[in-house]
Symmetry: C2
Subunit: 402 residues, 2 copies
């Protein structure tokens, strides 16, 4: 007997038939003798619908009131699922964020969890009930309702698993695990049985969006055993843990991210502190800069090249052009036809030749490497967007065979 | 400057245009310098829609989970209305039942209010915000969400008005006040400027459903000044108070109730205690009996005639037939083509001839009176259903002129 937290996303509970399937998974877990806590998102497109509705009342609604409105979606989900479980003769009780004592800061619409009460959930589990908790929501110190932002229900589930010292936190999604590459794009992409928290974080930041990074970071911090699995197929998914149990392949996965733009500041003075000035301006506005390259230009100038996320592109451009005199550069070149291709693997550091094999794979397919960046468990290259899929397939073939 | 509680029902906030109108009323009250607390119902048919949805998940959902689900409707209403007010530059904050400390018993789906916190509302009013409170909902001692049953938002508003010692509690509806008779049926029906709590209670029980009796009873107990008025027309409504300010007409109104059925137990033994037995059986199942008549029959037997509400008809019939031997009656006659016509007026007791005038009006139109019942402020007669409208008009003409 174990304490298991299960999280189902909006598409998994979109309608009565899907909730019936989810309730079946919950019922089986409960009948096996486990304590079961379930975290649900709002049904299907409910949240988007409520946001659209809000804008009819106020084109720019206050985040406090928006959170008040949006939190009803998850509350409806858990009540309906509790009814479905009762119809299957599984005792169940639904609880809101405030009812379980999900305390957050006051950053409405994107709040951070501060603490989770375990008392109410424990009492319900002791009464042999399945506990259904509305995800995505909490309350701040004023007892006002907050939401955790997109992907917040994953974070709710991990926070509850940490507070309850759960044996396992299962995140049910519409994919059946974490793959060595996007299975829709790369032939022979393989499902991973296990992956480390760090690898998972690098995969996410490299463009493979299975779990929200916030939830993985929290799982890592509190050492919560995660499992990513499908709500449609009854089979084991991918375990995400602190350390791998067995010997694993050196490389865990290959990913592609097209949501990047390359900026080049041409003709910057070759003086100390110039790069600092540039990145300070962007960091002040919370714009993340990824791959960075400094290269010598003509006449004692240099070029500074870096990538930013596509969503930050317009703001970054405006900020830099506004400060052109202060920074001192001749020209800003922007290229948004680039893609970042990465390999991720916790074993990479100890294994020589991984990066070389990657470059070899790209060369054999005549893919030009524009920029390179490495971290402890990741190697990323920037390539032309049109070469990206070919690059991923070539690298995958190299590391995972055919 | 006054503290005013305003309540708007579901049809008054059914869509964005209607909420805009309601927000206009609220904004004007606020701009006149008043502290304003607003209680809202769920929008339009939201509650019915959620009940229907629940039945897809469980044909017989638990009331605890149903309350969890239904309470989201009012939460959405208040959040949306707060957004609308903000768009009109009126500072507003929405609050749920639990946020204002609306404590109830645990009778899910039909809970009774035990206490209302004033602290949070006071704090928001002191910050010069309009306070929008989700009606119809509270929490019990387990911190579980309860609802107050149909008409519950009126009761929420009165309870808040009592707790806050409000100067006035305005109940906005789709009629513009309380009338001397149903204005859709009776020509020259007049709107009343004032009416007493007792008259209002008798009018409601006599079939004129403007305010739910629970809310009027609570207003009477805590001496809350009520006003019933229209959310569509900006004009004074009907004040409901403990005592009338000025001399008023003796009779306040004429009503018709067709939701009654007449039961006759024929051939009951003419012994003490028989009537008690009959009414005990019905009272045990919370079936209210209204007009009662005992009349002598043949051979030392009597007939007992009484009316019950239409909704209780089938159950009352079954209960009585099951106990036929124990009660001892020959036959049960049921007549559901009857109507109860009543006059209500606090001044009636002190004025002779009121009942006589009523009977005179009926006789002049050849309406046969089947049964009569009187209370301190009401005279009701049972007539054939087909004569009911004619009876109401005749009585109204008699008392309110033409």
């Amino acid at each position: 007997m174990a304490l298991i937290v299960q999280k189902f996303g909006g598409s998994s509970v979109a309608d009565v038939e899907k909730v019936r399937r989810v309730a079946g998974i919950i019922a089986d877990t409960y009948r096996e003798g486990n304590d079961v806590v379930v975290v649900l998102s709002a049904q299907g497109k409910t949240t988007d619908g409520l946001i659209k509705l809000a804008k009819e009342y106020n084109p720019n609604p206050s985040k406090r009131e928006l959170d008040m409105l949006l939190s009803t979606g998850e509350q409806q989900s858990v009540a309906l699922c509790a009814m479905m479980l009762a119809a299957m003769r599984i005792p169940a009780v639904s609880l809101t964020g405030w009812q379980i004592g999900m305390r957050t800061n006051s950053n409405y619409s994107n709040a951070t969890i501060k603490s989770v009460g375990s008392e109410r959930i424990r009492r319900e589990l002791d009464a042999h009930r399945v506990v259904l908790v509305a995800g995505f929501q909490g309350i701040n110190k004023y007892d006002d309702i907050t939401t955790l932002g997109r992907g917040g229900s994953d974070t709710s589930a991990v926070a509850i698993a940490a507070a309850m010292h759960a044996d396992l936190c299962q995140i049910y999604t519409d994919v059946d695990g974490v793959y060595t590459a996007d299975p829709n794009k790369v032939k022979n992409a393989k499902k991973l049985d296990e992956i480390t928290f760090d690898e998972m974080l690098e995969l996410a930041s490299a463009g493979a969006k299975v779990l929200h990074n916030r939830s993985v970071e929290m799982a890592k911090r509190y050492d919560v055993n995660l499992e990513v699995l499908s709500s449609y197929e009854r089979k084991p998914g991918t375990k995400v843990r602190g350390a791998k149990k067995m010997e694993q392949a050196v490389v865990s996965g290959v990913t592609k991210d097209v949501n990047v733009i390359r900026f080049t500041l041409v003709g910057v003075a070759d003086e100390p502190g110039v790069a600092f000035k540039v990145f300070r301006i962007l960091a002040n506005e919370k714009i993340n800069v990824d791959i960075i390259l400094q290269s010598l230009g003509r006449n004692n100038t240099q070029d500074i090249t870096f990538t930013v996320g596509r969503a930050d592109g317009d703001q970054a451009k405006e900020l830099l052009l506004n400060e052109q005199d202060k920074i001192g550069f001749k020209r800003l070149d922007i290229d948004d036809h680039v893609a970042k291709v990465s390999i991720v693997g916790a074993g990479m550091l100890m294994t020589s030749g991984v990066a070389v094999n990657m470059f070899d794979a790209l060369a054999s397919k005549k893919v030009n490497i524009e920029m390179i960046s490495t971290s402890e468990i990741k190697v990323s290259v920037l390539v032309d967007e049109k070469d990206a899929d070919k690059a991923v397939q070539a690298i995958h073939d190299k590391f995972f065979g055919d």
